[in-house]
């Protein structure tokens, strides 16, 4: 039994025109695979992401924690004057806080992304077509029980019309 329709494109603009058409037909697009981020896709699918906000919060957390740690280490726990600098020397703390901000931001964002999209090492993923992992722009539409065969035909023709190099049912 086929469960999904795939439209495979080699051009970003063709794929976007197909997406717009399918949206106008009020059909639900399950997934879009692109080799690089295409902002238009976000807008058309009305998807929202809070990952940038998460990155911002993680980075702020990293910077603040590091600053507090440096303050604790060089002022409270082991107050040692070196190089004629004050114990609480802001410029040198900023540098380390900045680096740790990047570290926290990057690593925790990646982890948050993996957790949010339920990815883990050894997970079995169903790859519909190998070109998804390559240079193709792929539109994936899940077949639902309430879809009539006319709907499926219409989808097929829309995908073809807008320049898909191949339309698969898998």
């Amino acid at each position: 039994m086929n469960t999904a329709i795939l439209g495979i494109y080699e051009d970003e603009d063709l794929m976007i025109s197909a997406l717009k058409r399918i949206r106008d037909e009020k059909m639900e697009i399950s997934e879009v695979f692109t080799p690089y981020p295409v902002h238009e896709v976000f807008k058309i699918l009305k998807r929202k992401t809070r990952l940038p906000l998460a990155t911002f919060l993680f980075s702020s957390l990293g910077a603040i924690l590091t600053y507090l740690f440096l303050y604790w280490a060089s002022v409270l726990s082991y107050p040692l004057i070196f190089g004629g600098k004050p114990l609480h020397s802001i410029p040198s703390f900023i540098l380390i806080s900045f680096v740790m901000m990047i570290f926290f931001g990057v690593f925790l964002s990646v982890i948050a992304f993996l957790v949010r999209s339920k990815l883990y090492p050894g997970k079995k993923v169903k790859i519909h077509d190998l070109r998804i992992t390559d240079n193709a722009f792929v539109i994936l539409i899940d077949k639902k029980p309430e879809m009539s065969s006319d709907d499926i035909k219409l989808l097929n023709s829309i995908l073809k019309e807008h320049g898909a190099i191949e339309v698969l049912e898998k």
Partner: protein, 385 residues
Amino acid sequence: MDENYSVSPTFKFIILGIVFVGIITIGLGLYINPEKTWANFLLSNYYFISIIVGATFFLAIQYITQSGWSAMFIRIPHAIGMYMPVAAITILFLIFGMHSIYHWSIPGVAEHSPEIEHKSPYLNIPFFFIRLVIIFALWILMTWLLRKTSLKEDHESNLKYFYKSEYYSKIYIFILAITFSLLTFDLIMSIDVYWFSTVFAVKNFVSGFYHAVSVITLIVILLNRNGYFRDLNKTHLRYFSRYIFILGIIWAYLWFIQYLLIWFANIQEETIYYVIRTEGKWKTFFFLNIILNWAIPFSILLPARTNANKLVLIFISIILIIGHWVDLYLQIMPGSVGEFNIGYIEIGVFAGFSGLFIFIVSRALGRIPLIPKNHPYLGESINLH
């Protein structure tokens, strides 16, 4: 499409009035307080030189990277480049005010100071002006060549003009890298003649580029509000704000490494530069500089919701135009005038120069078609999404 910008007579009248006020302030200031007037004269001159350099560098970068999005707007940096000959003439007036600004230029100083003696083969008045003339001749030539090629393209659809522009752009940024470094050393760094910094040229270059992009953005948005650039959309604005955002980070980075290295190394002749600037009345400007040039643009342009808004970008551009002045005030005044005092001379001289700049650039915008006709990426720029 081929609409030309037209300057309204009232606008022209007001601008010429401001220029007149500037001339009167300079005249009056030279009589009352020549030292301060010359320092402000240098500040305003350098301010607009760095804006021109930044704008034309922006132009060159667009050609070299073959950017599509900006094809519509390239006539604005071209028009800003037309201020170059005027800037070259006004900077040469500095010959009358050298002694007020540059300690090393006073005759006899070199005999008492081995440091100045050591630098004197480079830092002497004749060579200073020879360098200025050569640098400006090169810049005027290159911006003229770039403009001529772009205008020729309007009459004849041929890709060779685009490649020619790209070729000139490559030569131009190569020239800029060397000449702008020398110019900042000469005009700004030699005020504090005992002090030196190796990132100084890069810092000032990025500063010019940064503020020039905000000036270009401001001009684009203002023209759009007056009915030009009807194809301006959110994506163009987002690209402009990205330029400002990224350059803001680079500016802050370069500001910070210069400060950090001097602070860490703690060598007397280097730290004195910052000791003066973090004490007394200068301290307010020291922090204001960071807030205006980095903190405000960074925090406002960070969320995606605000960074493609015209009013936000106008606000940021105005903040940066003030910020560039504050930055230069802090670099020039402690070494030349020596006291923090903002009065009518500061405001008048800067107003006069900005009036001149607006007058020349708006006239230039009226003389060349606002949107290039046969630029190969024009379609991409207009239909950007």
